[in-house]
Symmetry: C2
Subunit: 75 residues, 2 copies
DNA sequence: TAGTTGGTAATCATTAATGATAATCGAAAA
DNA sequence: TTTTCGATTATCATTAATGATTACCAACTA
C-alpha cells in the first residue's frame, strides 16, 4: 500500500537523521561525503523519497555503520 | 568511488535468490506475492537494478524475514 | 550592519527503477 | 510429439530517484 511506503520513507529518514545527529555531523557534510547536495539530503531525511540500496549503502559507509544498522527494527 | 554500485546490485540479487531458493519458492510466486512481474524479479536477482528500500521491504516481508536479513554482511 | 552556518523547500533536468508485455529457452514430463 | 514449468531476455512506457540550482529562513557573531 502507498501508506506503507510513505511510512517506510519517513522511518528511514528519521533513522538517518538520528544517526547523523548523534555524530554531530551537519547535513551538508554527510551529503558531501556521500557525493550529493545538501538539499537532497534534507529531502531524504524528510521522508520524501524512497532511497535506493546504493544510496543507503553510501550513507551507512559515511556514518561508519554497517548497512543493516540503518534498517534494523525499521517499521 | 569507494564502493561499486554494480557489485552491490549483484550481491543483493544473489542474496535474494539464495533466500528464495532455500524456501523452494519459484521466482514467479515470490514476484506475485510482492506484486511485480516475474520478469522483473529475474532482472533484480540478476543484479541489473539497484532496488529501492520499498522493493527490498516487500521482498523481506514475503520471505518472512526482517529487512536487515537481506543486507547483513552484504559486501 | 553584514556575513556565516545549518537547514528547508521549490523547481527542473536527467537517470534509472519499476510496470508491463512478449518471446524464448531447457528440462521434465505426458 | 506437445505441454508445462521455471527462468531469462528484450523492449517500451511510466514513474520516481537523483542531480543540481536557487532562494529562503533562523540563529548566531564579528
Amino acid at each position: 500500500m502507498t501508506l506503507d511506503k510513505k511510512n517506510l520513507q519517513i522511518a528511514i529518514g528519521q533513522r538517518i537523521r538520528q544517526l547523523r545527529e548523534e555524530r554531530n555531523i551537519p547535513q551538508q557534510d554527510l551529503a558531501a561525503a556521500c557525493d550529493f547536495e545538501k538539499s537532497n539530503m534534507a529531502r531524504l531525511e524528510a521522508g520524501k523519497t524512497n532511497p535506493t540500496l546504493y544510496t543507503l549503502k553510501k550513507i551507512a559507509d559515511n556514518l561508519n555503520l554497517p548497512l543493516e544498522a540503518l534498517v534494523i527494527d525499521l517499521l
